[in-house]
Symmetry: C2
Amino acid sequence: MYSVVLLGTGNLAQHLFEAFLPVKEIQIVQVYGRNPEKLIRFQQHTNVCSDPMEIVDADIYIIAVKDDAITAVAALLTSKKGIVAHTSGAVDMDAIALKNRGVFYPLQTFTKGKSLNFGHIPICIEAEQAASVQMLKQLGGHISAKVVEITSEQRKKLHLSAVFVNNFTNHLYQIGADICEKEGLSFELLHPLILETAEKIQDISPFDAQTGPARRGDTESIKNHLGLLNDQKHVELYTLFSTAIKKAYEKKL
Amino acid sequence: MYSVVLLGTGNLAQHLFEAFLPVKEIQIVQVYGRNPEKLIRFQQHTNVCSDPMEIVDADIYIIAVKDDAITAVAALLTSKKGIVAHTSGAVDMDAIALKNRGVFYPLQTFTKGKSLNFGHIPICIEAEQAASVQMLKQLGGHISAKVVEITSEQRKKLHLSAVFVNNFTNHLYQIGADICEKEGLSFELLHPLILETAEKIQDISPFDAQTGPARRGDTESIKNHLGLLNDQKHVELYTLFSTAIKKAYEKKL
């Protein structure tokens, strides 16, 4: 049984709280947050506090706050003996100026109000002390089947990859939606294609999954498509992607 | 009951064949293909032919061949009375130089050897004659709950959108895989994120779904990410995407 204090009340904090709550090996002894209003939703389940002086002792402190607040929140815990771990993909472990520090980074996009099954979400662990690595691994293992130990450097690269496959992909969806809207077409027509594109990649590599005019070297279709685009930014993206894809497959032929 | 001749033996032809086969209102009376070897897999289920002179009469001819072969294959059917429809997203209906022409375009990515449920795949219909529109709609309705009539112009724009959300998205997956590989990380770590990104969009708009440094206007994270990228093409894409996302949300603030 681990006692856990959760620091933060935002989107990720809420998702982690929901994931930890039903696990009998994890006892969330407290949720800390500066804004008392945001603590209301937690206080029916556990002790809450907005005064740093009231933070209780626990085995593990999980900091789920904005990147630039991690150092300051960690500084509230200088007198504590438990592990202090942040949950960010982009921040060095050293942002926590404590000896017993670590990272507990769930690699996923968390949408407000949308429940998630943590079962297969990778939890990326890092800690200063070997015993803390083990403890964070066990904590992660209670909510996910995929717990991995990685370095700060690897985590940053993973987070960067996530920006490409998540944030930028979503912007491509936005472009698709814009083109449809201008043509009086429902974006919903693209939903099944979007889903299949993501599902496909669960079984085959992106290299093998690639299709389309650029993959085929079909310059006629590419020319036609460029002629259909009105937005100069879309033309730039179309050209960059097509050039990159063409090159990747020329190389391997 | 409609009699259908399928012209083509490639990936899409096979998927359509599999979708049509169990439908009792559809009788695939023949599959035509130039290469006899590629007909073998069809001939246990229906009549096949590789001689254009042997093509039988049918209510509907579905041409599922490469874009640049559509006109030539349609020309084999000048003496036929049935509807002649191609299945391409990018080709004008006029590529078929026959009076009773149409389009039957399933908007999806078809992977060789991977069965697909057509149930929710949009089938985009177009035809010269009103009666043919109805017949193609009914044909589509037997395999999908989503059959829509759109113009050639709309279809081309839809196909262009599909290139963004499917082909280019897959290239972003490739970039994610490349970054992971260089860092000794398994690309599988990104699988759940990729899937959730696509699933999210089934319920909320891409505009509301957008997250990440550019959305937050977090220039510090953007600078750090650019510093981590080694490939100049990735830097270009990162910058283009981030600028576009930042702009979209500045506008709406």
